[in-house]
């Protein structure tokens, strides 16, 4: 059977080289992108959804508490889930203080904390919160889809969750995500 054109087997060989290499390259690229993602960051299911219905009691000397209606004030605000026992919360605390100085309304949800310890910490390091709700059972935080403290939510003026940041705030997250959503300068 010498009737086959001479270039055909060559073509097959070329493909049998290119195809595995191309497949490998595509797979390596896809997995490479995967490596840069943080598997700890679980996308929030509540983005664009209204804030859950809740009403939390206040903390210590601040009995006013925090409830759903507080978060639909017509102006974007932040909700920060924090605890005095949470070390990363102390890392982000100066950034919250700074945002509060810039006029951002920050609401605190105090997660599974001892009210005395929480109050003492805020007295010592400063209190950036306009309102604080004490979530001693952690149930309201579960309604917010919280799975680790700290978490920070940007709430739109009409009371919807626009963005969630998991873990301590970073200067980049504040600059690139939170400040634009809050409509600051």
């Amino acid at each position: 059977m010498t009737t086959e054109p001479a270039d055909k087997p060559e073509k097959i060989i070329r493909w049998s080289f290119i195809l595995p290499i191309a497949t490998f390259a595509a797979l390596a690229a896809a997995l490479g992108v995967g490596l840069t993602l943080n598997p700890r960051e679980i996308p929030s299911a509540l983005i664009e959804k209204p804030v859950p219905q809740f009403a939390l009691p206040g903390l210590g000397e601040r009995p006013e508490g925090l409830k759903t209606a507080d978060l639909a004030s017509g102006k974007p605000q932040l909700v920060n889930v924090f605890a005095s026992w949470c070390v990363p919360c102390r890392v982000e605390h100066p950034m919250l203080m700074d945002l509060a100085r810039r006029g951002v309304v920050i609401n605190g949800i105090n997660y599974k904390d001892d009210p005395g310890a929480a109050t003492a910490w805020l007295k010592q390091d400063g209190d950036p919160f306009a309102r604080i709700g004490a979530d001693r059972q952690g149930r309201v935080s579960i309604d917010f889809g919280v799975y680790g403290v700290p978490e920070t939510f940007v709430i739109t003026g009409d009371g919807r969750i626009a963005y969630k940041h998991v873990g301590p705030l970073t200067e980049d997250a504040i600059k690139d995500k939170i400040v634009p959503l809050l409509g600051l300068k």
Partner: protein, 164 residues
């Protein structure tokens, strides 16, 4: 030298201990099983299908994380309230997304997850079959020698060619 090493090791150990205990570790919550054994068994079965958000590769039934304990309790409450298995799962999916399901649902966004392996298997099988067939064709028995070729081969080897 040894003392220096000892200090380094001690420092590392201390850093590790701090790192281990620095995470969110509130007081242990003790599970309150449901009074009805059948309902409790159903709650546990549901919990086994839900992924722990803290440990990620464990179900909330297997996890000791405080959040997993809270979620187990919520599953029990939903079961007690009369929710069927799917309704309990929907309750948690509404808060944490499909991510909490250890068995992802079959839908547009997860299509590749379910169909991908089959596609790859079929494509790989097709490539193997194709290459195998080509190779067979290429290595097919060569055409028999023409009388001239047979004569030349006989002259070169010095013996008669026996037809095979």
């Amino acid at each position: 030298m040894i003392a220096g090493l000892r200090i380094v090791v001690l420092g590392l150990g201390l850093a590790l201990a701090l790192a281990l205990f620095a995470g969110p570790v509130p007081a242990q919550v003790i599970d309150n099983p449901l009074a009805d054994p059948a309902a409790e068994a159903r709650a546990r079965d549901i919990s086994r299908t839900l992924r722990c958000l803290v440990c990620q590769n464990q179900s909330i039934e297997d996890s000791n994380a405080p959040l997993a304990q809270d979620l187990r309790q919520i599953v029990r409450e939903r079961v007690q309230a009369g929710d069927d298995d799917e309704a309990v799962r929907r309750f948690l999916v509404a808060r944490y997304g499909d991510w909490v399901l250890l068995r992802p649902p079959f839908r547009g966004a997860t299509l590749m997850l379910w169909v991908g392996p089959v596609l790859i298997l079929v494509a790989g099988g097709a490539v193997v079959a194709l290459l195998y067939r080509r190779q067979r064709r290429q290595t097919a028995a060569p055409a028999p020698l023409s009388p001239e070729e047979a004569a030349r081969l006989a002259a070169l080897t010095g013996r008669e060619q026996t037809p095979s």
